[in-house]
Every structure is written in structure tokens, then in C-alpha cells.
């Protein structure tokens, strides 16, 4: 049961669009839809992956954020240089809480900011020399790095520096991969193109490095793709896969290493969690190395069960039994979690607005807790993501693409969800409106949320947020009805 009927939701969209000028209204109307489960394709109902309108408040990032922040940043033994002015690197430094095992500054470099710190003279005379010098300095100071990636910021593309030449020369000198990534922020409409560019750079510079090298294979080798280990997510997923008898060769890219990535072409099956950011490389490996890939979803026990069985279906009976064993082992503890939290969360309505995957992936986890997702939207999804979302969401729910700050607030005011899941940019707006809020990008300093262990944390966090007593104290004192007149107060009279 959706919060509103189909007609009411359609009326709400029209009402919200009313304030825009004619042209903007026409454009934004294409990005909003009322869900209809019967639809096969989202194409006719929603437009996605288009440039945001000038003048509206969008929550999107840039191509650099997609490449450095998402894909390259979490690889722990690769040093990612933010090539350009200092800010981009500083503000994308470990912000996504991609956990890793290692010693920062010795063999792991996720939390550090390496940048060429462009000044005016670098713009005028070019930054290639500085970059070459920087790479040498890095090699001297951090000899345990396994490779270097150069993440271009906007000016590098604008002035036309030849970072590829510098990278090739440095790679020869250092005898390590040095990967130039052309992820200037102005490319594309959102971080999505940055993922694509980063995938392509891995394809061109990393993935074929060990072709023909010896590798001890087992029939149960898999790789986890598109899990960035936010708050330890990939670890919570990995233990389940290992428990069912699979061997996880690589983690892309949370807590991942360069060697793991280079070994990925030897696996039997690629497991793809974040479809939006890593389907490109999966498709490439499917064509070149004949490795099939599947999407899986480790949010909430129902989806985990489904996914474990789906993964096991690619292997022999030993793994299939393993999957059943794992499901059986965790079922009692999951039932206990649901028994504890479901009564406190039953029937609550959730609205989501996250990146490119979680609005549909977390639906199952919320449903396991008896909650209902009444609105969902993506920052940078493409139409194939919406095709998948339509099936997950209930009828007559609201779907919004690249929602603007204004629209999101108005939707929340009308739909009145009990919980919102989105990012840090939205968090305090909704806190001030008195709506419980969880960050679904970084798990609000908590996590993991993937896997069976993660679901227990997920359920606790949702309860902790939703049933927090502070939400009953939102009314300001001057809005409260006065309990008694001040003039009648005996103490005041005495004074």
C-alpha cells in the first residue's frame, strides 16, 4: 500500500512542478514518475542520465568523484594522485569510509591525499614536469606502493597536459603500473561517467598485466566487484561466500589490492554488487576471458538467501549444499533480529535518494523489517537501473531522477515518510524539518550493512533513528501552547 494513490501522486508531481518556468517544468517533468509494476521498460516514463538544469540544487558529483572517490581511491596499495588544484583531493580523502587492513602511509594509502597542488604557473606553463617530479618523490617516500594512478582534475583537461606520456615514462622507470585516468570533472553529467572512465582505465592498464602468467586456480574462484567496503561491507559479504566454499580471489575495490585486480581474469565467476559502477569491466571480462557475471544483493535476509542460491547455481553440488548450510546457519539469528525490531518498525514509510544502486537494493531489507519504501530516486542511474527499480518498488510509489533540493523537500512534506535515507547534503535539511534521517552513502558512521551480520546493524540503526525520543521534542518553545499564563504565576507576581 503506497502512501498516496496513483492520482494523488500524479497531482503531487504536477503541484511541485508548478513553480518552475515553462521550459524547466517541461524538462523536470520527464524525470519524475509514478511507478507502475506492469511496465517492462522505464524508457517511456522516465528520463535519466541527463545534464542537470542550471539553477536547481542537484546533489550530483562529478567524473573525478566517480573515479577517484569510488573506484580508484579504495584500492589500498595504489597511490592515487589528485592531479590539479588541492581541493578536490582533500575533500575526497577517505570520505566514503572505505575500510582496509594495513598501515596507513606504509603499505596502504587510502586515507592520504597526494596532489600536485596546481598554482597559476602550472596552468600557464603546464603541469607535466611537476607530475613527473611528484611521482619520483612518491617513490622515494613510499616505496611500498604497488602502483600509481593519476586522477585528472578539470584544469588538466582544459590546458591539455599529456599525462599519458608522463605515466608511460614513469611506469618504465619505476617498473610499476602508472595509470593515467582522464576523469576531469567536467566530463559527463554526473559521477557515472567517472565510473566508466575508471573502468576503462583498469581495462587498458591493469587487467591484462598477468595474461599468461601462472596462477593456481580452483574451480571455486570468484571475485567481488562493486563492493567498496563502506564500513566493512565487503568483509561481511566475503565471509558468507567463503563459508559456502567459494574462494574470493579479488575485492574490487574496497580493501582491494592491485595484485587482486590483476588476478581477476583467472576467476570462474564475477559477482557484481554495484551494477552501475562496475558493469563495464564485467562485460569486458565476459567477452575477453569468458567469465560470466551476475548481479547479487546482500541487503536483508530474503535477498541474501535469493542471491546465495543464485550464486551457487553456477557451481556444483558442494557449493549448493554450502549455500543451504549458510542460509540455515544464519536463519535463527536473523529471525531473532526481525522479531526484535519488526514490531518497532512495522508499517513505517521510507523515502530513499541515493546514488545508483541502493534505492533498489535496500528495498528488500526494509521489507524484511516490515517497512515500506514509498519513494525512491537515483542521483546518477541510467535507464537500465530504472528498469530494475520498477520491479522492486510498489505500485503508485514515487520515482524521481536527479531530484532537486526543492522537489525533494516538497515531496517529503506531502508524503510525510517516517524515515529518509539519503546523503550528507540532504541530512541536515531534513533533520531541521523534524524527519528522521539515515545516511545511506556512508551508513552514518556505522556499518556494515551487507550480509547477515550487516543486517543486524542495519535493523538496529533504523530503529535507533526512527524511534529516537528527540523527534517528539521538535516543536520550538514559542510554538507550544502556553501551559499557564505567566501573569498568573505567583512567583512573577511576587517579583
Amino acid at each position: 500500500m503506497a502512501a498516496l494513490t496513483r492520482e494523488e501522486t500524479e497531482a503531487l508531481i504536477q503541484e511541485v512542478l508548478e513553480v518552475y518556468p515553462e521550459k524547466a517544468k517541461k524538462d523536470r517533468a520527464k524525470h519524475l514518475m509514478v511507478n507502475d509494476k506492469e511496465l517492462e521498460s522505464s524508457k517511456k516514463c522516465i528520463t535519466s542520465n541527463r545534464k542537470s538544469l542550471p539553477g536547481v540544487m542537484t546533489m550530483r558529483g562529478c567524473a573525478y568523484a566517480g573515479s577517484k572517490g569510488v573506484l580508484w581511491g579504495p584500492i589500498k596499495d595504489v597511490i592515487s594522485i589528485s592531479h590539479g588544484p588541492i581541493g578536490c583531493g582533500q575533500y575526497s580523502r577517505a570520505g566514503r569510509r572505505n575500510y582496509y587492513i594495513g598501515t596507513s602511509g606504509v603499505d596502504s594509502f587510502c586515507e592520504m591525499n597526494f596532489t600536485s597542488d596546481f598554482q597559476e604557473k602550472d596552468i600557464v606553463f603546464g603541469g607535466d614536469k611537476k607530475l613527473a617530479k611528484l611521482i619520483n618523490e612518491i617513490e622515494g617516500l613510499f616505496p611500498l606502493n604497488k602502483g600509481i594512478s593519476i586522477q585528472s582534475e578539470c584544469p588538466v583537461g582544459l590546458i591539455g597536459d599529456d599525462i599519458e606520456a608522463v605515466a608511460k615514462k614513469a611506469a618504465k622507470e619505476l617498473n610499476k603500473p602508472v595509470v593515467p585516468v582522464r576523469c576531469e570533472g567536467f566530463r559527463g553529467v554526473s559521477q557515472s561517467l567517472g565510473h566508466h572512465i575508471a573502468n576503462d582505465s583498469v581495462r587498458d592498464w591493469i587487467i591484462t598485466n598477468r595474461d599468461g602468467h601462472p596462477f593456481e586456480k580452483t574451480p571455486y574462484d570468484v571475485a567481488i566487484l562493486g563492493d567498496y567496503n563502506v564500513g566493512g561491507d565487503a568483509w561481511a559479504s566475503r565471509i558468507l561466500l567463503e563459508e559456502m566454499g567459494l574462494r574470493v580471489v579479488a575485492q574490487w575495490s574496497g580493501d582491494g589490492t592491485l595484485a587482486e585486480m590483476e588476478n581477476t581474469p583467472f576467476v570462474k565467476l564475477n559477482l557484481l554488487h554495484c551494477y552501475r559502477s562496475m558493469n563495464y569491466i564485467s562485460r569486458y571480462m565476459e567477452e575477453k576471458y569468458n567469465i560470466p557475471w551476475i548481479e547479487y544483493n546482500f541487503f536483508g535476509p530474503s535477498k541474501i538467501k535469493e542471491s546465495l542460491r543464485k550464486i551457487a547455481s553456477f557451481f556444483d553440488d558442494k557449493i549448493k549444499e554450502g549455500a543451504e548450510r549458510v542460509i540455515e546457519k544464519y536463519t535463527p539469528s536473523m529471525e531473532a533480529v526481525i522479531a526484535k525490531y519488526k514490531p518497532r518498525l512495522q508499517g513505517k514509510k521510507v523515502m530513499l535518494y541515493v546514488g545508483g544502486l541502493r534505492p533498489r537494493h535496500t528495498v528488500g531489507a526494509y521489507e524484511d523489517l516490515g517497512m515500506e519504501v514509498v519513494g525512491a530516486g537515483y542521483e546518477f542511474a541510467h535507464n537500465d537501473d530504472y528498469d530494475r527499480t520498477i520491479k522492486e518498488m510498489g505500485d503508485a510509489t514515487l520515482i524521481y531522477d536527479d531530484v532537486t533540493g526543492y522537489e525533494f523537500e516538497e515531496f517529503v512534506k506531502a508524503i510525510k515518510p517516517d524515515l529518509i535515507g539519503s546523503g550528507i547534503k540532504e541530512k541536515y535539511v531534513f533533520h531541521k524539518m523534524g524527519v528522521p534521517f539515515r545516511q545511506l552513502h556512508s551508513w552514518d558512521y556505522s556499518g556494515p550493512y551487507h550480509g547477515y551480520d550487516g543486517f543486524a546493524v542495519f535493523a538496529r540503526d533504523m530503529d535507533m533513528t526512527l524511534n529516537n525520543p528527540c523527534w517528539n521534542m521538535m516543536q520550538t518553545p514559542w510554538q507550544e501552547k502556553p501551559a499557564k499564563s505567566l501573569l498568573k504565576d505567583p512567583l512573577l507576581k511576587a517579583a
Binding site: S41, K43, R283, E286, E287, N383, D384
Partner: protein
């Protein structure tokens, strides 16, 4: 002309264009025999593309050049 990738799913051929991230089912292919493969392909979204008829690829997925005849981008 654009590079596309054709893969096989349990429901038949799937069309994928990396540059624009368009994924769709192929509803019909003009020639689909081991000796002659390709020709005009029709997509689930109403688009149509043309692949130079050729010997069928040994295994899928397979990247190939295709020309847009008609339809949705």
C-alpha cells in the same frame, strides 16, 4: 557507426552499446545461421541497427560495429 556488444541471455540476444549505456533485448535478427549472421537487428525499445552480415562469432559476447538505421537513441 558505433561499437556494440551482443551477448546471450536465457531469453535470446541482448544488445549493449557501451558509449551510451543502452541495454536492450534483440527481438529479431535478419540472419542467424552459423554461416551468415547479422543484418538488420530490431531492439525491444523499437530501435533498429544494421550489422554487416558475417560468419557467426564462435562465442558470445561479441563486439561488433553496427550502424543505426532507425529509432530511439
Amino acid at each position: 557507426m558505433a561499437n556494440i556488444m551482443i551477448r546471450k541471455s536465457d531469453k535470446g540476444y541482448v544488445f549493449y552499446m557501451p558509449k551510451r549505456d543502452i541495454e536492450d533485448s534483440i527481438t529479431s535478427m535478419e540472419f542467424d545461421t552459423p554461416e551468415k549472421w547479422g543484418g538488420e537487428i530490431k531492439l525491444g525499445n523499437g530501435g533498429a541497427y544494421y550489422i554487416e552480415p558475417q560468419v557467426a562469432p564462435e562465442r558470445l559476447p561479441y563486439s561488433v560495429r553496427a550502424r543505426r538505421i532507425d529509432g530511439v537513441e
